[in-house]
Protein backbone atom coordinates (compact mmCIF):
# COMPACT_ATOMS: atom_id res chain seq x y z
CA UNK A 1 0.00 0.00 0.00
CA UNK A 2 2.87 2.39 0.78
CA UNK A 3 4.22 1.77 -2.69
CA UNK A 4 0.81 2.41 -4.24
CA UNK A 5 0.61 5.70 -2.33
CA UNK A 6 4.09 6.63 -3.56
CA UNK A 7 3.13 5.91 -7.17
CA UNK A 8 -0.11 7.87 -6.69
CA UNK A 9 1.78 10.92 -5.45
CA UNK A 10 4.12 10.65 -8.41
CA UNK A 11 1.20 10.42 -10.87
CA UNK A 12 -0.48 13.48 -9.41
CA UNK A 13 2.73 15.51 -9.42
CA UNK A 14 3.29 14.73 -13.10
CA UNK A 15 -0.02 16.28 -14.22
CA UNK A 16 -0.88 18.96 -11.67
CA UNK A 17 -3.39 20.85 -13.83
CA UNK A 18 -5.48 17.78 -14.42
CA UNK A 19 -5.35 17.08 -10.70
CA UNK A 20 -6.65 20.57 -10.00
CA UNK A 21 -9.41 20.22 -12.59
CA UNK A 22 -10.55 16.89 -11.18
CA UNK A 23 -10.50 18.22 -7.61
CA UNK A 24 -12.45 21.31 -8.66
CA UNK A 25 -15.24 19.34 -10.27
CA UNK A 26 -15.47 17.25 -7.11
CA UNK A 27 -15.51 20.45 -5.07
CA UNK A 28 -18.44 21.79 -7.09
CA UNK A 29 -20.34 18.55 -6.76
CA UNK A 30 -19.92 18.36 -3.00
CA UNK A 31 -20.54 22.05 -2.45
CA UNK A 32 -23.87 21.65 -4.21
CA UNK A 33 -24.57 18.49 -2.20
CA UNK A 34 -23.80 20.20 1.10
CA UNK A 35 -25.85 23.26 0.19
CA UNK A 36 -28.76 21.00 -0.70
CA UNK A 37 -28.45 19.00 2.54
CA UNK A 38 -28.25 22.14 4.69
CA UNK A 39 -31.22 23.77 2.96
CA UNK A 40 -33.28 20.59 3.11
CA UNK A 41 -32.45 20.01 6.76
CA UNK A 42 -33.18 23.63 7.61
CA UNK A 43 -36.54 23.60 5.87
CA UNK A 44 -37.49 20.30 7.57
CA UNK A 45 -36.62 21.76 10.96
CA UNK A 46 -38.58 24.93 10.25
CA UNK A 47 -41.52 22.78 9.16
CA UNK A 48 -41.37 20.80 12.38
CA UNK A 49 -41.23 24.02 14.38
CA UNK A 50 -44.38 25.38 12.81
CA UNK A 51 -46.14 22.07 13.09
CA UNK A 52 -45.31 21.93 16.81
CA UNK A 53 -46.73 25.37 17.50
CA UNK A 54 -50.22 25.52 16.10
CA UNK A 55 -51.07 29.21 16.26
CA UNK A 56 -53.34 31.64 14.46
CA UNK A 57 -52.48 35.34 14.32
CA UNK A 58 -55.23 37.91 13.76
CA UNK A 59 -54.33 41.48 12.88
CA UNK A 60 -56.82 44.21 13.71
CA UNK A 61 -57.96 47.14 11.65
CA UNK A 62 -56.84 50.69 12.41
CA UNK A 63 -59.09 52.22 15.10
CA UNK A 64 -60.00 48.96 16.83
CA UNK A 65 -60.30 49.58 20.55
CA UNK A 66 -58.68 47.52 23.26
CA UNK A 67 -62.17 46.78 24.54
CA UNK A 68 -63.20 45.15 21.28
CA UNK A 69 -60.02 43.10 21.20
CA UNK A 70 -60.40 41.93 24.78
CA UNK A 71 -63.99 40.92 24.09
CA UNK A 72 -62.84 38.72 21.23
CA UNK A 73 -60.03 37.32 23.36
CA UNK A 74 -62.41 36.44 26.19
CA UNK A 75 -64.82 34.71 23.80
CA UNK A 76 -62.01 32.63 22.33
CA UNK A 77 -60.74 31.59 25.76
CA UNK A 78 -64.12 29.95 26.32
CA UNK A 79 -63.48 27.62 23.37
CA UNK A 80 -62.16 24.21 24.48
CA UNK A 81 -59.79 23.95 21.52
CA UNK A 82 -57.95 27.16 22.49
CA UNK A 83 -55.00 26.63 24.83
CA UNK A 84 -53.64 30.17 25.05
CA UNK A 85 -54.16 33.69 23.77
CA UNK A 86 -51.74 36.58 23.65
CA UNK A 87 -52.61 40.19 22.87
CA UNK A 88 -49.81 42.22 21.19
CA UNK A 89 -50.63 45.92 21.34
CA UNK A 90 -49.25 48.49 18.90
CA UNK A 91 -46.63 49.51 21.48
CA UNK A 92 -45.69 45.87 22.03
CA UNK A 93 -45.41 45.39 18.29
CA UNK A 94 -43.14 48.42 18.03
CA UNK A 95 -40.90 47.11 20.84
CA UNK A 96 -40.66 43.69 19.14
CA UNK A 97 -39.77 45.39 15.86
CA UNK A 98 -37.10 47.52 17.57
CA UNK A 99 -35.57 44.48 19.29
CA UNK A 100 -35.31 42.60 16.00
CA UNK A 101 -33.75 45.46 14.11
CA UNK A 102 -31.62 47.07 16.80
CA UNK A 103 -28.49 46.68 14.70
CA UNK A 104 -30.01 48.53 11.77
CA UNK A 105 -30.85 52.12 12.77
CA UNK A 106 -32.09 53.02 9.28
CA UNK A 107 -34.97 50.58 9.70
CA UNK A 108 -35.89 52.08 13.08
CA UNK A 109 -36.07 55.71 12.05
CA UNK A 110 -39.33 55.81 10.17
CA UNK A 111 -41.34 53.24 12.09
CA UNK A 112 -43.76 54.31 14.82
CA UNK A 113 -46.40 52.46 16.79
CA UNK A 114 -49.12 53.87 14.56
CA UNK A 115 -47.83 51.95 11.57
CA UNK A 116 -47.84 48.57 13.26
CA UNK A 117 -51.18 46.86 13.85
CA UNK A 118 -52.25 45.28 17.11
CA UNK A 119 -52.61 41.50 16.93
CA UNK A 120 -53.96 38.52 18.81
CA UNK A 121 -52.03 35.22 18.84
CA UNK A 122 -54.25 32.22 19.51
CA UNK A 123 -52.72 28.81 20.25
CA UNK A 124 -54.72 25.62 19.80
CA UNK A 125 -54.32 22.08 21.02
CA UNK A 126 -53.72 20.57 17.58
CA UNK A 127 -53.02 21.95 14.09
CA UNK A 128 -56.38 20.58 13.02
CA UNK A 129 -58.13 23.11 15.28
CA UNK A 130 -56.50 26.11 13.64
CA UNK A 131 -58.99 26.46 10.81
CA UNK A 132 -61.97 26.59 13.23
CA UNK A 133 -60.36 29.42 15.20
CA UNK A 134 -59.42 31.20 11.97
CA UNK A 135 -63.03 31.00 10.80
CA UNK A 136 -64.22 32.53 14.08
CA UNK A 137 -61.74 35.38 13.78
CA UNK A 138 -62.47 36.04 10.12
CA UNK A 139 -66.14 36.65 10.99
CA UNK A 140 -65.16 39.53 13.28
CA UNK A 141 -65.52 42.87 11.49
CA UNK A 142 -62.55 44.44 13.32
CA UNK A 143 -60.11 41.78 12.05
CA UNK A 144 -58.21 42.84 8.95
CA UNK A 145 -56.11 39.71 8.35
CA UNK A 146 -55.85 36.21 9.75
CA UNK A 147 -52.63 34.25 9.26
CA UNK A 148 -53.01 30.52 9.61
CA UNK A 149 -49.65 28.70 10.00
CA UNK A 150 -51.07 25.84 7.99
CA UNK A 151 -50.61 28.12 5.02
CA UNK A 152 -47.06 28.65 6.17
CA UNK A 153 -46.67 24.91 6.71
CA UNK A 154 -48.07 24.22 3.26
CA UNK A 155 -45.75 26.75 1.69
CA UNK A 156 -42.79 25.37 3.59
CA UNK A 157 -43.72 21.84 2.59
CA UNK A 158 -43.82 22.92 -1.04
CA UNK A 159 -40.48 24.69 -0.70
CA UNK A 160 -38.94 21.68 1.01
CA UNK A 161 -40.26 19.47 -1.78
CA UNK A 162 -38.82 21.75 -4.44
CA UNK A 163 -35.46 21.82 -2.66
CA UNK A 164 -35.47 18.04 -2.50
CA UNK A 165 -36.43 17.59 -6.15
CA UNK A 166 -34.29 20.31 -7.71
CA UNK A 167 -31.40 19.78 -5.31
CA UNK A 168 -31.49 16.02 -5.76
CA UNK A 169 -31.58 16.30 -9.56
CA UNK A 170 -28.77 18.85 -9.60
CA UNK A 171 -26.57 16.87 -7.25
CA UNK A 172 -27.33 13.65 -9.12
CA UNK A 173 -26.33 15.25 -12.40
CA UNK A 174 -23.15 16.70 -10.89
CA UNK A 175 -22.20 13.31 -9.43
CA UNK A 176 -22.54 11.62 -12.80
CA UNK A 177 -20.57 14.43 -14.39
CA UNK A 178 -17.85 14.16 -11.72
CA UNK A 179 -17.52 10.41 -12.29
CA UNK A 180 -17.21 10.97 -16.04
CA UNK A 181 -14.51 13.60 -15.52
CA UNK A 182 -12.57 11.19 -13.30
CA UNK A 183 -12.96 8.45 -15.95
CA UNK A 184 -11.66 10.83 -18.59
CA UNK A 185 -8.69 12.08 -16.58
CA UNK A 186 -7.61 8.66 -15.31
CA UNK A 187 -8.14 7.21 -18.77
CA UNK A 188 -5.92 9.91 -20.24
CA UNK A 189 -3.22 9.15 -17.67
CA UNK A 190 -3.41 5.44 -18.43
CA UNK A 191 -2.91 6.13 -22.13
CA UNK A 192 -0.05 8.49 -21.34
CA UNK A 193 1.67 5.79 -19.31
CA UNK A 194 0.91 2.80 -21.50
CA UNK A 195 4.60 2.11 -22.22
CA UNK A 196 5.41 2.20 -18.54
CA UNK A 197 2.46 -0.07 -17.76
CA UNK A 198 3.57 -2.51 -20.46
CA UNK A 199 7.05 -2.70 -18.98
CA UNK A 200 5.69 -3.10 -15.46
CA UNK A 201 3.57 -6.03 -16.65
CA UNK A 202 6.53 -7.61 -18.42
CA UNK A 203 8.61 -7.60 -15.24
CA UNK A 204 5.76 -9.27 -13.36
CA UNK A 205 3.65 -6.50 -11.87
CA UNK A 206 0.29 -7.83 -10.74
CA UNK A 207 -2.98 -6.26 -11.82
CA UNK A 208 -3.44 -4.68 -8.40
CA UNK A 209 0.08 -3.22 -8.52
CA UNK A 210 -0.79 -1.48 -11.78
CA UNK A 211 -4.37 -0.63 -10.89
CA UNK A 212 -4.19 0.56 -7.27
CA UNK A 213 -2.35 3.87 -7.83
CA UNK A 214 -5.05 4.92 -10.30
CA UNK A 215 -7.84 4.06 -7.91
CA UNK A 216 -6.11 5.88 -5.07
CA UNK A 217 -5.71 8.86 -7.36
CA UNK A 218 -9.46 8.96 -8.03
CA UNK A 219 -10.14 8.73 -4.32
CA UNK A 220 -7.69 11.56 -3.69
CA UNK A 221 -9.55 13.85 -6.08
CA UNK A 222 -12.83 12.95 -4.42
CA UNK A 223 -11.68 13.54 -0.89
CA UNK A 224 -9.88 16.80 -1.75
CA UNK A 225 -12.97 18.23 -3.37
CA UNK A 226 -15.28 17.05 -0.60
CA UNK A 227 -13.20 18.35 2.31
CA UNK A 228 -12.63 21.71 0.60
CA UNK A 229 -16.35 22.04 -0.07
CA UNK A 230 -17.15 21.18 3.55
CA UNK A 231 -14.69 23.76 4.87
CA UNK A 232 -16.15 26.45 2.63
CA UNK A 233 -19.74 25.53 3.50
CA UNK A 234 -19.06 25.55 7.21
CA UNK A 235 -17.12 28.79 6.90
CA UNK A 236 -19.92 30.53 5.01
CA UNK A 237 -22.51 29.22 7.43
CA UNK A 238 -20.53 30.41 10.41
CA UNK A 239 -19.95 33.83 8.81
CA UNK A 240 -23.61 34.41 7.94
CA UNK A 241 -25.10 32.91 11.12
CA UNK A 242 -25.46 36.26 12.98
CA UNK A 243 -27.18 37.77 9.97
CA UNK A 244 -29.51 34.82 9.43
CA UNK A 245 -30.44 34.40 13.08
CA UNK A 246 -32.29 37.71 12.98
CA UNK A 247 -34.63 36.33 10.32
CA UNK A 248 -35.19 33.00 11.96
CA UNK A 249 -36.31 34.38 15.33
CA UNK A 250 -37.58 31.53 17.50
CA UNK A 251 -36.73 28.78 15.02
CA UNK A 252 -33.60 27.28 16.50
CA UNK A 253 -31.75 26.43 13.30
CA UNK A 254 -28.59 28.38 13.96
CA UNK A 255 -25.86 28.10 15.00
CA UNK A 256 -25.56 24.68 13.39
CA UNK A 257 -24.67 21.89 15.79
CA UNK A 258 -20.94 21.03 15.33
CA UNK A 259 -21.78 17.34 15.76
CA UNK A 260 -24.15 17.58 12.79
CA UNK A 261 -21.42 19.17 10.71
CA UNK A 262 -18.97 16.46 11.77
CA UNK A 263 -21.43 13.77 10.71
CA UNK A 264 -21.87 15.63 7.43
CA UNK A 265 -18.09 15.70 6.95
CA UNK A 266 -17.84 11.96 7.55
CA UNK A 267 -20.68 11.35 5.10
CA UNK A 268 -19.21 13.46 2.30
CA UNK A 269 -15.81 11.87 2.80
CA UNK A 270 -17.33 8.40 2.40
CA UNK A 271 -19.36 9.47 -0.64
CA UNK A 272 -16.33 11.16 -2.20
CA UNK A 273 -14.21 8.03 -1.73
CA UNK A 274 -16.97 6.01 -3.41
CA UNK A 275 -17.34 8.46 -6.32
CA UNK A 276 -13.60 8.82 -6.86
CA UNK A 277 -12.91 5.11 -6.77
CA UNK A 278 -15.93 4.37 -9.00
CA UNK A 279 -14.66 6.72 -11.69
CA UNK A 280 -11.18 5.20 -11.48
CA UNK A 281 -12.48 1.64 -11.58
CA UNK A 282 -14.46 2.40 -14.74
CA UNK A 283 -11.36 3.95 -16.32
CA UNK A 284 -9.12 1.05 -15.31
CA UNK A 285 -11.56 -1.55 -16.65
CA UNK A 286 -12.00 0.34 -19.90
CA UNK A 287 -8.47 1.43 -20.66
CA UNK A 288 -6.30 -1.06 -18.79
CA UNK A 289 -8.64 -3.95 -19.47
CA UNK A 290 -8.15 -5.35 -16.00
CA UNK A 291 -10.73 -5.70 -13.26
Amino acid sequence: MNRAILYTKRNIRRTPFQAIAASMIMFLTFFALLAFILLATGSEMALKYFESKPQVIAFFKEGTTDQDIHAIETALQQESIVTNTKYVSKQDALQIYRDRNKNDPALLELVTANILPASLEVSTQTPQDLQSVADILKREPVVSEVIVPQDVVQTLTQIAGIIRTVGGATVGFLMVFAILVIVMIIGFKIRLRRNEIEIMRLVGASSSFVRNPFILEGMFYGITGAVTAWILSYGLLWYFTPFLQGYLEEIKLLPVNPLFMFILLTTVILVSLALGSLGSIFAVRRYLKIS
Binding site: R3, N195, I199, M200, L202, V203, G204, S206, F209
Partner: protein, 226 residues
Protein backbone atom coordinates in the same frame (compact mmCIF):
# COMPACT_ATOMS: atom_id res chain seq x y z
CA UNK B 1 12.77 -27.15 -17.21
CA UNK B 2 11.15 -25.71 -20.34
CA UNK B 3 9.05 -27.95 -22.55
CA UNK B 4 7.37 -27.20 -25.83
CA UNK B 5 5.03 -30.00 -26.89
CA UNK B 6 3.50 -29.87 -30.38
CA UNK B 7 3.25 -26.10 -30.22
CA UNK B 8 1.70 -24.23 -33.12
CA UNK B 9 1.08 -20.54 -33.54
CA UNK B 10 -0.91 -19.10 -36.37
CA UNK B 11 -1.62 -15.47 -37.15
CA UNK B 12 -4.61 -15.75 -39.43
CA UNK B 13 -3.60 -18.00 -42.35
CA UNK B 14 0.12 -17.53 -41.59
CA UNK B 15 2.01 -19.99 -39.46
CA UNK B 16 4.57 -18.44 -37.11
CA UNK B 17 5.41 -21.74 -35.39
CA UNK B 18 4.66 -25.23 -36.57
CA UNK B 19 4.82 -28.39 -34.55
CA UNK B 20 7.53 -27.24 -32.16
CA UNK B 21 8.83 -29.91 -29.82
CA UNK B 22 11.67 -28.68 -27.69
CA UNK B 23 13.05 -29.32 -24.24
CA UNK B 24 15.45 -26.99 -22.49
CA UNK B 25 17.07 -28.32 -19.34
CA UNK B 26 17.68 -26.42 -16.16
CA UNK B 27 20.92 -24.43 -16.38
CA UNK B 28 21.30 -24.73 -20.16
CA UNK B 29 22.47 -21.93 -22.41
CA UNK B 30 20.68 -22.19 -25.75
CA UNK B 31 20.84 -20.06 -28.89
CA UNK B 32 17.74 -19.78 -31.03
CA UNK B 33 18.74 -18.67 -34.50
CA UNK B 34 17.05 -18.15 -37.83
CA UNK B 35 16.28 -15.51 -40.39
CA UNK B 36 13.79 -12.73 -39.74
CA UNK B 37 10.30 -14.12 -39.44
CA UNK B 38 11.51 -17.59 -38.57
CA UNK B 39 9.63 -17.48 -35.25
CA UNK B 40 12.42 -16.77 -32.74
CA UNK B 41 10.70 -13.94 -30.90
CA UNK B 42 7.35 -15.75 -30.97
CA UNK B 43 8.95 -18.76 -29.31
CA UNK B 44 10.36 -16.65 -26.50
CA UNK B 45 7.21 -14.61 -26.02
CA UNK B 46 5.17 -17.75 -25.55
CA UNK B 47 7.22 -18.47 -22.45
CA UNK B 48 6.02 -15.25 -20.78
CA UNK B 49 2.50 -15.62 -22.17
CA UNK B 50 2.80 -12.47 -24.21
CA UNK B 51 1.76 -14.74 -27.06
CA UNK B 52 -0.69 -17.61 -26.64
CA UNK B 53 -0.05 -20.66 -28.82
CA UNK B 54 -2.82 -21.78 -31.14
CA UNK B 55 -2.31 -25.35 -29.99
CA UNK B 56 0.11 -27.43 -28.00
CA UNK B 57 1.49 -27.38 -24.52
CA UNK B 58 4.19 -25.28 -22.92
CA UNK B 59 5.63 -25.82 -19.49
CA UNK B 60 8.08 -23.72 -17.54
CA UNK B 61 9.17 -25.74 -14.54
CA UNK B 62 5.95 -27.06 -13.06
CA UNK B 63 3.83 -24.34 -14.57
CA UNK B 64 1.65 -25.19 -17.55
CA UNK B 65 1.77 -21.87 -19.34
CA UNK B 66 -0.94 -22.78 -21.84
CA UNK B 67 -3.49 -23.59 -19.15
CA UNK B 68 -2.51 -20.75 -16.86
CA UNK B 69 -5.11 -18.12 -15.90
CA UNK B 70 -4.46 -14.47 -16.57
CA UNK B 71 -4.26 -13.65 -12.87
CA UNK B 72 -1.29 -16.03 -12.52
CA UNK B 73 0.72 -14.53 -15.39
CA UNK B 74 2.55 -11.97 -13.19
CA UNK B 75 3.96 -14.74 -11.00
CA UNK B 76 5.23 -16.52 -14.15
CA UNK B 77 6.91 -13.38 -15.37
CA UNK B 78 8.70 -12.96 -12.07
CA UNK B 79 10.31 -16.35 -12.62
CA UNK B 80 11.30 -15.51 -16.19
CA UNK B 81 13.55 -12.52 -16.78
CA UNK B 82 13.42 -10.82 -20.20
CA UNK B 83 16.06 -8.85 -22.05
CA UNK B 84 14.86 -6.92 -25.09
CA UNK B 85 16.59 -5.56 -28.16
CA UNK B 86 14.90 -2.18 -27.66
CA UNK B 87 15.79 -2.21 -23.95
CA UNK B 88 12.32 -1.15 -22.69
CA UNK B 89 13.64 1.06 -19.93
CA UNK B 90 11.51 3.71 -18.25
CA UNK B 91 12.76 7.09 -19.46
CA UNK B 92 11.76 9.03 -16.36
CA UNK B 93 13.52 6.73 -13.93
CA UNK B 94 17.22 6.40 -13.20
CA UNK B 95 19.22 3.23 -13.75
CA UNK B 96 18.79 2.38 -10.08
CA UNK B 97 15.03 2.94 -10.19
CA UNK B 98 14.61 0.93 -13.38
CA UNK B 99 16.31 -2.06 -11.83
CA UNK B 100 14.51 -1.57 -8.52
CA UNK B 101 11.16 -1.86 -10.33
CA UNK B 102 11.65 -5.60 -10.69
CA UNK B 103 11.79 -5.89 -6.90
CA UNK B 104 9.05 -3.34 -6.21
CA UNK B 105 6.59 -5.59 -8.01
CA UNK B 106 7.63 -8.33 -5.57
CA UNK B 107 6.72 -5.97 -2.74
CA UNK B 108 10.20 -6.10 -1.26
CA UNK B 109 11.18 -3.64 1.44
CA UNK B 110 13.13 -0.53 0.62
CA UNK B 111 16.20 -1.87 2.45
CA UNK B 112 16.14 -5.20 0.59
CA UNK B 113 15.72 -3.43 -2.72
CA UNK B 114 18.62 -1.08 -2.10
CA UNK B 115 20.92 -3.93 -1.14
CA UNK B 116 19.97 -6.18 -4.05
CA UNK B 117 20.11 -3.43 -6.68
CA UNK B 118 23.49 -2.24 -5.48
CA UNK B 119 24.81 -5.80 -5.66
CA UNK B 120 23.56 -6.44 -9.18
CA UNK B 121 24.62 -3.06 -10.56
CA UNK B 122 28.13 -3.67 -9.31
CA UNK B 123 28.07 -7.11 -10.85
CA UNK B 124 27.10 -5.79 -14.28
CA UNK B 125 29.58 -2.94 -13.77
CA UNK B 126 27.24 0.05 -14.05
CA UNK B 127 27.07 1.05 -10.40
CA UNK B 128 28.67 4.38 -11.24
CA UNK B 129 25.84 5.08 -13.67
CA UNK B 130 23.09 4.40 -11.15
CA UNK B 131 21.76 7.96 -11.06
CA UNK B 132 21.71 8.48 -14.80
CA UNK B 133 18.61 8.29 -16.96
CA UNK B 134 18.35 5.92 -19.94
CA UNK B 135 18.87 8.71 -22.46
CA UNK B 136 22.24 9.39 -20.84
CA UNK B 137 23.48 5.81 -21.31
CA UNK B 138 25.31 4.16 -24.15
CA UNK B 139 23.76 1.12 -25.83
CA UNK B 140 25.91 -1.29 -23.86
CA UNK B 141 25.15 0.43 -20.56
CA UNK B 142 21.44 0.40 -21.32
CA UNK B 143 21.55 -3.30 -22.13
CA UNK B 144 23.46 -4.02 -18.92
CA UNK B 145 20.74 -2.13 -17.05
CA UNK B 146 18.10 -4.30 -18.72
CA UNK B 147 20.02 -7.45 -17.83
CA UNK B 148 20.39 -6.24 -14.25
CA UNK B 149 16.62 -5.67 -14.06
CA UNK B 150 15.98 -9.09 -15.54
CA UNK B 151 18.14 -10.98 -13.03
CA UNK B 152 17.88 -8.92 -9.84
CA UNK B 153 14.87 -10.97 -8.80
CA UNK B 154 16.89 -14.21 -9.28
CA UNK B 155 14.65 -15.73 -11.93
CA UNK B 156 14.98 -19.37 -12.97
CA UNK B 157 15.04 -18.48 -16.64
CA UNK B 158 16.49 -15.58 -18.60
CA UNK B 159 15.17 -14.93 -22.10
CA UNK B 160 17.13 -12.59 -24.32
CA UNK B 161 15.55 -11.45 -27.58
CA UNK B 162 18.31 -10.11 -29.82
CA UNK B 163 20.09 -8.39 -26.90
CA UNK B 164 23.11 -7.45 -29.04
CA UNK B 165 21.09 -6.35 -32.07
CA UNK B 166 21.83 -2.63 -31.73
CA UNK B 167 25.31 -2.92 -30.25
CA UNK B 168 28.81 -2.73 -31.72
CA UNK B 169 30.84 -5.99 -31.66
CA UNK B 170 32.93 -5.11 -28.60
CA UNK B 171 29.91 -4.06 -26.55
CA UNK B 172 27.98 -7.07 -27.80
CA UNK B 173 30.70 -9.36 -26.50
CA UNK B 174 30.56 -7.66 -23.14
CA UNK B 175 26.86 -8.40 -22.94
CA UNK B 176 27.34 -12.01 -23.98
CA UNK B 177 30.01 -12.50 -21.33
CA UNK B 178 27.56 -11.18 -18.79
CA UNK B 179 24.90 -13.63 -19.95
CA UNK B 180 27.46 -16.38 -19.76
CA UNK B 181 28.26 -15.48 -16.20
CA UNK B 182 24.57 -15.44 -15.31
CA UNK B 183 24.25 -18.88 -16.81
CA UNK B 184 27.14 -20.06 -14.65
CA UNK B 185 24.98 -19.28 -11.59
CA UNK B 186 22.54 -21.94 -12.76
CA UNK B 187 20.07 -19.69 -14.56
CA UNK B 188 18.74 -21.15 -17.79
CA UNK B 189 19.47 -18.75 -20.65
CA UNK B 190 17.68 -18.80 -24.00
CA UNK B 191 18.91 -16.21 -26.48
CA UNK B 192 17.45 -15.39 -29.87
CA UNK B 193 20.09 -13.88 -32.13
CA UNK B 194 21.32 -13.15 -35.63
CA UNK B 195 24.92 -12.82 -34.46
CA UNK B 196 26.79 -15.58 -36.25
CA UNK B 197 30.14 -14.84 -34.63
CA UNK B 198 28.81 -15.10 -31.09
CA UNK B 199 26.98 -18.35 -31.79
CA UNK B 200 29.94 -19.98 -33.50
CA UNK B 201 32.41 -18.84 -30.82
CA UNK B 202 30.51 -19.93 -27.75
CA UNK B 203 29.80 -23.47 -28.94
CA UNK B 204 26.53 -23.87 -27.07
CA UNK B 205 23.35 -25.68 -28.02
CA UNK B 206 21.88 -24.14 -31.14
CA UNK B 207 18.27 -24.50 -32.29
CA UNK B 208 17.77 -23.33 -35.85
CA UNK B 209 14.28 -22.20 -36.83
CA UNK B 210 13.13 -22.01 -40.41
CA UNK B 211 9.62 -20.94 -41.39
CA UNK B 212 8.38 -21.69 -37.90
CA UNK B 213 9.84 -25.20 -37.75
CA UNK B 214 12.89 -26.53 -35.95
CA UNK B 215 15.28 -27.20 -38.81
CA UNK B 216 18.14 -28.35 -36.60
CA UNK B 217 18.93 -28.78 -32.92
CA UNK B 218 22.57 -29.44 -32.11
CA UNK B 219 24.46 -29.54 -28.84
CA UNK B 220 27.55 -27.54 -29.81
CA UNK B 221 26.09 -26.12 -32.93
CA UNK B 222 27.02 -23.56 -35.45
CA UNK B 223 25.03 -20.76 -37.04
CA UNK B 224 23.83 -22.24 -40.30
CA UNK B 225 21.56 -20.55 -42.78
CA UNK B 226 18.88 -23.01 -43.86
Amino acid sequence: MIIFENVNKKYGPNSALENINLEIKQGEFIFIVGSSGAGKSTLLRILTKEVIPTSGKVKVGNIDVTKMQDKDVPSLRRKVGMVFQDFKLLDDRTVFENVALALEVLDKSYEDITKAVEHILKLVEIWDKRNLFPRQLSGGEAQRTVIARAVVGKPDVLLADEPTGDLDPKTAWGVIQLLNEINSWGTTVAMATHNQEIVNTLKRRVVILKNGNIAKDSKEGKYEIH
